[in-house]
Point group: C2
Chain length 294, copies 2
């Protein structure tokens, strides 16, 4: 993919660096990086992930722009790429992003460009790590993972095809869905679990003897809280951008916790066992079965 083409990576972190590394292997001619973090840019250059830095004046027909910045920074990058109809986005370059919330990208496009450009393809790779930063970048980060694209009516089919082909070149499986479906599903499978992990760790941190408490945490706790080591900036953006969908599934979870609390208080082992049995069956069926993919 990107044969002879240039890749512009806006935001050289875990995701931007991993796309750069992967598309380098797939024959990208030149990779240009921009980032407000000069150390990240320098590290990416030292690692051979990018060849040049700075906003390019023009991009050609086989080029691709990847926006890989925290969700609420997408607007400012789009503004830079649009640049009052003088920028590369206004000029027709194919642009995609990787934000974990998609409605906010549509909102950002309206705010920054005045409309949804046909060559902007909102996207989201369902891959990542609690590690962040370009030092954690890996060319195979997306292999076997899903990428969700959420094009809208105005989005050009050729632009979707270009973005799809780039992700497929990295070994990802690409699907499309409506923006609202994406944001609701991700609130359930990703955003709420992160909120719970942050909440649990912070709750235990407020216990006076928390050091002793953490000392007796074992593998189950380590796995359960792994996502609480995720980047706080990225995640505060995601929650601010998807507050309504997260609030909806948090309501449902709190109702479930109320139900469990009532069973606990009543000492109702059968009631607890019934819910645990249902949860175990769901996970064993739907999550274990999918493990080779994720």
């Amino acid at each position: 993919m990107l044969p002879g083409g240039r890749l512009l990576v806006c935001g050289v972190g875990l995701i931007g660096g991993s796309v750069a590394a992967g598309l380098r292997e797939q024959g990208a001619e030149t990779i240009i990086g921009v980032d407000t973090d000069r150390q990240a840019l320098a590290a990416a250059q030292r690692a051979g992930l990018i060849d040049a830095t700075g906003w390019p004046d023009d991009l050609g027909p086989t080029d691709l722009v990847l926006i890989a910045v925290p969700t609420l920074t997408v607007a400012s990058v789009l503004a830079e790429l649009w640049d009052g109809e003088r920028g590369v986005l206004a000029g027709g370059a194919v642009v995609t992003d990787v934000a974990s919330v998609k409605q906010s990208v549509l909102d950002a496009a309206l705010a920054s460009c005045g409309r949804m450009p046909a060559n902007l393809v909102p996207g989201h790779p369902i891959a990542g790590s609690e590690r962040s930063g370009v030092a954690a970048a890996r060319a195979d980060l997306f292999r076997g993972h899903r990428v969700i694209l959420t094009p809208v009516e105005q989005t050009a089919a050729a632009a979707i095809d270009r973005v799809r082909a780039a992700w497929e070149a990295l070994g990802a499986e690409v699907c499309t869905m409506p923006v609202a479906d994406h944001d609701r599903i991700l609130a359930m499978t990703s955003h709420l679990p992160h909120l719970l992990a942050f909440a649990l760790v912070d709750t235990l941190g407020r216990v006076p003897e928390h050091e002793a408490v953490f000392r007796f945490a074992a593998g189950g706790f380590r796995d359960f809280t792994r996502i609480a080591s995720s980047d706080p900036v990225m995640w505060s953006d995601i929650f601010a951008a998807n507050a309504e969908a997260v609030g909806g599934i948090l309501d449902a979870l709190e109702r479930e916790l109320d139900e469990l609390r009532a069973l606990l208080d009543a000492g109702d082992r059968e009631g607890l066992r019934s819910i645990f049995t249902r949860a175990k069956a769901l996970r064993d069926t739907h999550v274990i079965g999918a493990s080779s993919r994720d």
Copy 2:
């Protein structure tokens, strides 16, 4: 350890089978298994983990009894071992258990024996797996893991030493603490995370399109919900036995979720970021640092 001695394993599942496998390597002469599940006993015999089945009439001075059954089944096993002062527990055999709640073991001893026998050493290995059953047993399951013993005033020092030596022979690090401390700490680091994992998976299972939802769950979700694949019987017993301590930390978590909800509703990125930053620092300091141990 257990040189020339016999081991009686009451409950031949993941934990009982793993202790049997480990102490076999350490020179246990004979391993006897009892279990209400005949298939588990047969599997353990086929795997060479146990040599004989059935309650022994007597046990000698170098023997050890391990109770590895669901928490609320400990009482009936203790009653069998006590047998109106005619059983091996009444006869002085050193007995330990592995239940995840310790107060309920003390209660069970009072109910089954009329007192806390000096040769009964309550214990809990902080190791395990979402897998259960003897087929998952491994001789090295406890290597590098902590085991908490919660002896009481009446417990004989020699009995504690025997149990400690057995766990150390399996590569575990043994410590002691008061019963109440154990039950409170485990409510925080193990029981509440399990409740949240079961609750989240069951909540998502109630969403009409839950199959589509689970399809887009990635590695973070898989790790976060791994413990929701745990044994429902074991866990309903644990929650029934430790309801008060679990309820206390669940209260604290729900207050934290209320706080996060208010920040979400207000779109307060700074407030969210501040909590996430604190949680990430706590986990990176206290949990990552402990990862080689667990």
